[in-house]
Symmetry: C2
Subunit: 329 residues, 2 copies
Amino acid sequence: MSITILGGGGFLGLKLARRLARDGQVGGRPVEALTLFDLRPPPAPEGAPFPVRSLGGDVSDPAAVAEAVQPGTRVVVHLAAVVSAQAEADFDLGLKVNLHGTLAVLSACRALPSPPRVVFTSSVASFGGGQGAVLPDDARQVPENSYGAQKAMGELLLADASRRGMVDAVSIRLPTVTVRPGRPNKAASSFVSAILREPLLGLPAELPVGEDFAVWICSPRRAVEWLLHAMGMDTAGMGADRGVNPPGMSAKVGDMLAALERVAGPAARALVRRAPDPAVAAIVGGWPAAFTAERARARLGFSEQEPLDELVRAFVEDDLEETRRDRGL
Amino acid sequence: MSITILGGGGFLGLKLARRLARDGQVGGRPVEALTLFDLRPPPAPEGAPFPVRSLGGDVSDPAAVAEAVQPGTRVVVHLAAVVSAQAEADFDLGLKVNLHGTLAVLSACRALPSPPRVVFTSSVASFGGGQGAVLPDDARQVPENSYGAQKAMGELLLADASRRGMVDAVSIRLPTVTVRPGRPNKAASSFVSAILREPLLGLPAELPVGEDFAVWICSPRRAVEWLLHAMGMDTAGMGADRGVNPPGMSAKVGDMLAALERVAGPAARALVRRAPDPAVAAIVGGWPAAFTAERARARLGFSEQEPLDELVRAFVEDDLEETRRDRGL
């Protein structure tokens, strides 16, 4: 089958493309062609047993997206987004990419002779809740940030288009993905990766919240597994609700640091310094720290997040060297 | 204050404009100017103690909406919509008017020097549920029709824009409004008004569902009261959730017909003929028949739906003659 990854140059898109190149199939069906689309043409994964097209363009430009979603496309993975901090800083850019981009994706899919599977990454940021919350699967999305609002709008659009038979969508509300490769950034959630990644690189990191602070997380490996599952799964049992709260893990910062110490030793753990930041605490304090995720587990076949030690080791195995190289360390 | 009604030519818009002309104020503040906007310039209400502008245009055209929302506008009532049956028949038209229209409204509001109150009519159609459901205020919106999906998207957009201080929005999820003036149409909910209106006009009506079938309803009078309340209310206590399930009434068809008989006699009641229509029953069977509406009642000050007899009499008093005239009866 022919697959298009929109946002194929981001860290999840690159990992997914590599995995497809390695496996050569999804859900038992061989991959026949892959198109990667991002603002700049993404690098093709090495050793792919199928042709790879790399395209550069703006996801809110219907013509550019139509070029990326050519006749024969069976699966569209729509990862292209302006992330939370940026969507908060620039409302119009967020609307353009996160809302009008998703409209352009739908438009391109409707031009196909048969409705493709669309795998859309929504986000835990589409919910409010806070530390005490354990959100059930039918929790109402009352976003407290523009990114979450735009993602929830995209979910509604794709669910309705699925009901109408224009696409066959699965929207995965990703937890905070950790350990992200790259650098610390200004996102309020940046510390969730930084407190593990930086010490593993031998660098100091600051912890803006207390060790009891809990976050709903998943690893990049698990996020890729969920994307692969959503690309091939049977959607017949989903009904009108195309949104999925996948089985992430509610982890306390202290437990994440204990895992860091077990994997990388006390010297790594000692690189994390407590630096209370009320502004960051106020933002992340509103995010729900846990979900029941029963539907995804029991009925939709999404796999469980691996334990924290394995999550830390996965960064070492998958991303440490490349991150070191990219950052000139 | 200066008010703009988008969709001011529809039946609720016309009723609201007449009421403003009569009262000359909203929430104790005098109305200084009124702009009515619809596809065709709506008729100005008679005897208004303030200037009335009537404009024709497309609500999805940002320039047209900007012309209707001039500097100084304090309240925008956004009623302009493609209704459920039409949005279901023409997906692109629904998206254009219901989604891009609301984007254009937001755009026009952002150009004002201070954020206006925006009163947006969302709908019970944004929920699933069915006959057995009594939906709490935090019920998740899982729309099973394009109109409901587009309305829920509009709610998310306006709630986020309110959080950001661009507007100050209240989204009222209107029940099925009955008795609507006009004619029977192809909307699945058409019978809810037709079984009262047609007999009051001396005409026969068909009932596609059983008399035990329950509908979440409100009268046009009540809808106008809610709009007026939302135009003037204090929104400080709403938090991130700008959507309101107003205190409508869960009424069985049999109770509505009994009220008809009490008000207009057994001959009127006898004009309603049972004509089972499984297609209509299947559609309306998915609509939630009841809401708790606790937040609207106890915390937000929305008034209660009047009893059924009064709802029937209100049509006789407010709309019977005009409907007769409009339909050449």
